[in-house]
Structure formats: C-alpha cells, structure tokens
C-alpha cells in the first residue's frame, strides 16, 4: 500500500519514535523508507538575526558554517547511524539525505521530486512548522506524538470530508499494527453540507438529507464489513471527546472541508487545532 515512506526530521526537533513507527509500518507494507534530515533554516536565520548587531559579518558566517557542519555530523553520525542499524536488523530498504531549508518547504519540495506515498513526522508545538503543509500535502501524513496510549485507532468519517479513504486506511493500519479499530461518523449539524470525493462542498442540506447521506455511507461500509457508529455534534469537539474516552494511539481523519468565514478564511483550521491541543498521534488523509 505504501511503497515509499518519507520520514522528515528537523534539526530543531528530533524524535526517535518516528523512526520506530516508520519501521513498524515499513515492515508490514514492505516499504522503502527515506529519512530526510532537515537543517532548519529558520533556527539558523534566527541566530543570525539575533547576533547581527553583536558580531561581525565574517564571524557570523563562520558560526553559521560551524553550526551547519555540526548539524550535518549529528545527522550522519547519530540520527542516520541509529536508524540504519535498526533498518538493517529488520532487512528493510532505507535511504537517508540531508537538506537545508524551511521544514515545510523542504518536505513539499522533496515530495514533488520523488513519488512518496506516505509521510511520518514528529511534532512539537513550539517548533517552526507551517501548518499549510498539512493542507498542501497530497499524501497521507502521520503526525507522531511521543506518548503511549491504548493500542487503538480512532477513525473519523464525517459529512465534512470525503470518506472514501479514511475507513479503508484505518482498517489497513489496524491490521498492520494489530490495533483495535473504532470508526465513527460525525455528523456536523452546524455545518450541514456534504463533501464529495473531490473535496467539494455541496450547498446547504436539510438534516434529513444529511442523515440519508450518512445512512447510505454506513450501509456501503457495512457491505465491506466495516462497522461505523454515528455521532452528532461539532467535528472538532466530538473528535476530542471520543479521543479522551478511548485514549487511542492514533486518530485518522480525511481532508475536512470546514465552512469558510469572511474573505474565504477558515473559521479555524481543525488540523492545526488538533495538532496543538491533541496529545494523540494523528493521521491526515489528503
């Protein structure tokens, strides 16, 4: 299913857990994993900006070179070395590379250059991540949060997202990791639209129409032996409520298309909010 997995790690934030997770998935899907170490441009620039009055230009250049050299060494002698050892033990295909740039830009650039079909990365709120990455990526992105939870998957379908991938992928990952699967269809009555398979929102629907759509979807899933329970309420609130109740190791969500506010601005980026508030790993399927 996932032939090429990209695992970007930043010089600003590195978590061993993403490497372990990529090994777990690569073992099941027989994937090739590429570990991409990104020397974060913003931290180097931040250092430069803060020292520009205090240190001479040539000294700053030297410091920048020094810092980047050390980050390269950290990547090759520690991060790659550690990962290579684990991948070799499991007999998995593994590549690694170093890039310099802004974390989100480098990932997007790399995905354009090579055909990756899955991304796994760590996350820390204080780090310099552009949240647009989550919307611009055309492949599923797994955000690994370094905390242990129950071996359970919380798969979310909703009237606000195209649901063709989320249930299938949830099932597949549940099989791969041997985790219990809980699937919910959240019907957001405050935003009564349906989103088609291309991610396009319909015009406003009546609650009966929404309910009929939901019913059709659940029936279709039943035919494929996937059971989905229904919940009515706000998408973000219900996800959090269910997550707190079941303490899942991962929450899987499709490309939600929430109502836009004035000037086409979203009322709130659900992905961003989930990442910032949520202590569970997330898988966004775009």
């Amino acid at each position: 299913m996932f032939k090429n997995i990209l695992v970007p790690v930043s010089s600003e934030f590195y978590s061993k857990q993403v490497v372990y997770r990529s090994i777990q998935l690569a073992e099941h899907f027989k994937s090739t994993v590429t570990l991409l170490y990104i020397i974060e441009e913003k931290t180097i620039d931040q250092t430069e900006r803060l020292t520009d009055a205090h240190r001479a230009y040539y000294d700053r250049i030297e410091t920048q070179k020094d810092l980047m050299r050390k980050q390269q060494l950290t990547a090759t002698q520690i991060v790659f070395d550690f990962a290579s050892h684990l991948f070799e033990q499991k007999g998995l295909r593994f590549h690694h590379l170093i890039q310099y740039g802004e974390f989100s830009d480098v990932i997007l650039d790399e995905i354009q250059k090579k055909k990756y079909d899955f991304v796994i990365m760590g996350y820390e709120k204080e780090c310099m991540l552009h949240y647009r990455l989550l919307d611009e990526l055309s492949v599923p992105i797994w955000i690994e949060i370094n905390k242990s939870h129950e071996p359970r998957i919380l798969g979310i379908c909703t009237n606000l997202a195209p649901n063709q991938l989320a249930p299938m992928l949830s099932k597949e990952i549940s099989k791969a990791l041997d985790w219990e699967l809980l699937l919910y269809y959240i019907m957001d009555r405050r935003d009564p639209v349906a989103v088609d398979t291309y991610g396009i929102r319909s015009s406003e629907k009546t609650l009966d129409e929404l309910d009929a759509e939901r019913q059709r979807f659940i029936e279709k899933m039943k035919e494929q032996k996937i059971n989905i329970e229904t919940v009515v309420g706000g998408l973000e609130q219900e996800i959090m409520r269910k997550a707190r109740k079941y303490d899942p190791s991962i929450i899987i969500l499709g490309r939600e298309q929430k109502r836009k506010g004035a000037l086409g601005l979203p009322y709130g980026n659900i992905k961003r909010k989930l990442m910032e508030k949520c202590k569970y790993s997330l898988l966004f399927i775009n």
Partner: protein, 474 residues
C-alpha cells in the same frame, strides 16, 4: 551532494507587519506631538518619552536591525527639535565607545589565533571526572571566557565544541538530559559570565558611560568587585537547578575525554602568536584593574593601548580588525547612549521617576526589587543592551529622587539584571546559538529559565542589600 548550504543570510524583508510597526511608531510620535505638555515637562521631554517608547517597540519587534534602530534614535532627536544635532552626536563620542573598539580588537586577536579555543579546552579538561562535573565545567568555562571576550563569541565557540563532544558520545538530540544540560550550560554560563567584567556585554560599558555623565566613575576593578560575587553565587545555583530539572542519565564520560583529548591534539603546541596575545591580554587586564580609575588613563585608553600592542607585535592587522569589529553594536550603543543623554537633559527621566514614585509606595527595598524584576522581564523580550538603554535613564532618575538609593546602585542593578535573559530563545544571542544545536527545546529553556531567573533575582536583590549597600556602602 544532497546538502546545499545557503551561506548568504536572509535579509529582513519589508513585510506588511514591519510597515505596520513603523506606522505605529510614527503614530505614537505624532500623538506625543499633539498632546499638550504635561505639568512639569516641556516639549523636549514630552517628545523624548515618545522616542523612548518608539525605541522600546523597535528593539522588541525588530523590524529593522538593532543597530539601525540605534541610528534612528540618534536622528529622531534633532529631527523632532528635541536636541540639536551637535548635542546628540557629541554625546555619542565618549570613551566607552573607544573602550568597546579596543576590547573588540583584543577579542579579535584572541579568536584569530585560537587562544579562546585553547583556553576553553584547557578548562574543560579539568572537569572530566563525571558527567555532572563536566556540565559544571562547561558553565564555568563559558563564564570565565565571558570575562575576557563578548558572551556571543563565547557561545559561538562553545556550541560547536560541546556538539562535537556530544556526537562523540553518541548523545541523541532531545533524547538525553546530559545533552540538554550541556547546551543549557553554554547559554546560561555565557549570560552569567557576561556580568563579571566590562568586556562581557556592551550593556556594561553603556552603564559606566551613563554613570560618567552624572559624574560617577566606575573602574574595571570596581565593576568586578561589585559583579563577580553575583557570578560566583549564581553559577553553581543555576547549575544546581539544571541538575534538579534534568537528572543526568549517563555515568560514563570516557568518550568526552577522548574527544577533548583529540581536539587538544589538533590544537597542537601553543604558538608564538598565542603567547603574545595572552601576554598582551594579561597586561591590558592588569592595567584596567590598576589604572582605569585615573582620568588620564581611563578604560578606553588602556583598551586601545592593548589594541596598539597587538598591531606592534604583528598579531593582528587592519584586515582582521575590519573583519572582527561588529560595528552594529557600536551604533546600537550610540543610540542607547544618546537616548539616555536625551532623557536626562530634557528632564523626561526625572518626570517619569516622579510619576512612578507618586503612585507607588516609596519603600526603597521594594523599588530595588521592582527595578530588578522589570529589567529581567524586559531583557527576556528584547535585546539586553536595548533593555538597559531604556531602563537606565529612568532608574538613574528614580535614584536621584530617593535618598536611600544611590545612582550607582540603581545602575548596577539594571546592568546586571539586564544580562539575566534565561527564558526565551530570542532573549539573547547565546540562547539562540545554543538552541540551534537541537539538543533542547524552547520548553526546556523556559522551564529552567523561569526558575533560574527567580533565583537570580533573589541573589541580585540580596547582594544589593547586604553586600553593595551593607559592605560597599553604595
């Protein structure tokens, strides 16, 4: 090679945010221009407060480099008819500027010949007994070197050295408390050490210069007598906080020893030039300690003499000076000094002090504590020198209103508290340089930074009362 380096720095762009900040600053100045002069303050004083607020906003938000804000402050004063251009630029030309230039020449020679690296490795070698003592060694080494050269240079020297050691020890970034403490020790060691002498940070000569404007002379040695106890008490306590916050998980320091050994070997034998620089440095420090209080010698004269000796012994040349002197700090300093001069001359400083004192309880101890706390808060969100520049004129004016607080006491509190930027990465270059290693998170820094700041506030307050006031009679 998949790795591409971008060695040209990204310039600050004229973004909408920056334009907005500028417009906001002009709006503030315009409002100050329109409002009537408050009782007890003339036009110049009123506008000077506007300039002070503008400077604070620009130093916090940094839409332009800090040094350019320094220039902006200088030109605003004559442009707004606060002071004549003659007065403004004359206030810039004082001996502290030349002290900084001389000190930078000496620091440049130290760096050119790698004497700082040799000293750093020599120090670290003495702390190889255990991981704990090693982290203490890093702090002490950084602090000691920050006595001899600017703290930012020390941080830039130590971060690669410590990273090499951590790599040799196979310490994974973010995965080890030892890695975390080692890097935090660099950041905090440099900041604390920079309080110790006039060379450590530009805010120190700035303070001496502001004091000179009101007729108080502080020599190199007198500064050390006041500040070194703070360093000696703060260093072990902050180190202890680090140990409590992040218990070290490793026992073996063998790989670190080997790496230091290897780096010492790479340094080779001490060169003739290193010996010359070391001797000139020692000679200059002796002169600073013994003679800087004499009017006909002074801090700047000795610093420049040291610089001259480096030229005469061929240990530095003009090209090195051009490469090594950060003119930005001189301009930032210029802006800061003219700001203080303007605040004093227009009566704006006294007016703010009167306003503050009429609204708060005049208990001198509470005021001293408030001065420290406000300075620490401000230095954590803006440049250290900027924070000291903004607060010094007000602090000196407050001291002139309260008999129990001497201007020297107030100025020293602001200068030393100005170096305690422990909480945020953006607070000081040393934090940012250490953070770029990837071994600690912003949360780690904030967690220990808050506690370290509280402890240091207490230390500074206690030293001010029991040592400066009680023993030294400040």
């Amino acid at each position: 090679m998949p790795f591409r380096t971008l060695l040209s720095f990204q310039d600050r762009k004229l973004t909408w945010k920056n334009i907005f900040i500028f417009l906001f600053c002009f709006l503030i100045l315009f409002i100050f221009y329109l409002i009537p002069n408050p009782a007890g303050l003339e036009y110049g004083g009123k506008m000077m407060i506007g300039v002070l607020i503008t400077a604070a906003i620009l130093w916090i938000t940094e839409p332009i480099p800090l040094a350019v804000t320094g220039l902006f402050i200088m030109i605003l004063q004559p442009l707004l008819f606060i002071m004549s251009a003659e007065e403004v630029f004359t206030s810039f030309g004082n001996q502290a500027v030349f002290f900084l230039i001389g000190a930078f020449i000496i620091a440049g020679a130290i760096e050119k010949h790698g004497l700082h690296r040799r000293l750093a490795l020599g120090f670290l070698k003495r702390f190889e007994n255990s991981p704990r003592s090693f982290t203490f060694g890093i702090m002490i080494s950084c602090a000691f070197l920050s006595f001899l050269m600017p703290e930012h240079g020390v941080a830039a020297l130590f971060v690669p050295i410590v990273t090499s050691i951590l790599i040799a020890m196979r310490i994974m970034p973010r995965d080890s408390n030892f890695g975390r403490i080692s890097m935090l020790a660099v950041a905090y060691g440099c900041s604390i050490g920079s309080l110790g002498t006039l060379i450590g940070g530009a805010r120190n000569p700035l303070t001496v210069s502001e004091l000179a404007h009101i007729g108080i002379t502080v020599s190199f040695f007198e500064w050390m007598i006041m500040s070194v106890p703070v360093v000696l008490i703060a260093l072990p306590l902050v180190w202890f906080i680090l140990q409590l916050a992040y218990p070290i998980e490793i026992n073996d320091i063998g790989m670190a020893k080997q790496e230091i050994e290897q780096q010492v070997l790479l340094q080779g034998k001490i060169s003739k030039n290193e010996i010359k620089v070391a001797l000139i440095l020692a000679f200059t420090i002796c002169l600073w300690i013994l003679f800087s209080q004499y009017t006909y010698f002074g801090l700047a004269g000795i610093a420049l003499l040291g610089g001259m000796l480096l030229f005469l012994t061929d240990t530095i040349n003009w090209k090195d000076v051009e490469r090594k002197i950060p003119w930005g700090i001189i301009l930032l300093y210029g802006g800061a000094i003219t700001l203080g001069f303007g605040m004093k001359n227009t009566g704006a400083g006294s007016w703010i002090a009167t306003l503050i004192l009429s609204n708060v309880n005049g208990n001198p101890y509470m005021i001293l504590l408030a001065i420290i706390v406000i300075t620490v808060l401000l230095t954590n969100i803006m440049s250290n020198t900027g924070a000291v520049a903004v607060l010094l004129p007000i602090g000196l004016a407050i001291a002139s209103e309260i008999p129990d607080i001497s201007p020297l006491l107030s100025a020293m509190l602001i200068a030393l508290a100005g170096g305690l930027a422990f909480i945020f990465v953006i607070a000081t270059p040393a934090n940012a340089i250490a953070y770029s290693s990837g071994y600690f998170s912003m949360r780690d820094l904030a967690k220990t930074g808050v506690v370290a700041n509280l402890i240091c506030i207490f230390i500074l307050f206690a030293i001010a009362i029991f040592y400066w006031m009680g023993v030294l009679g400040l």
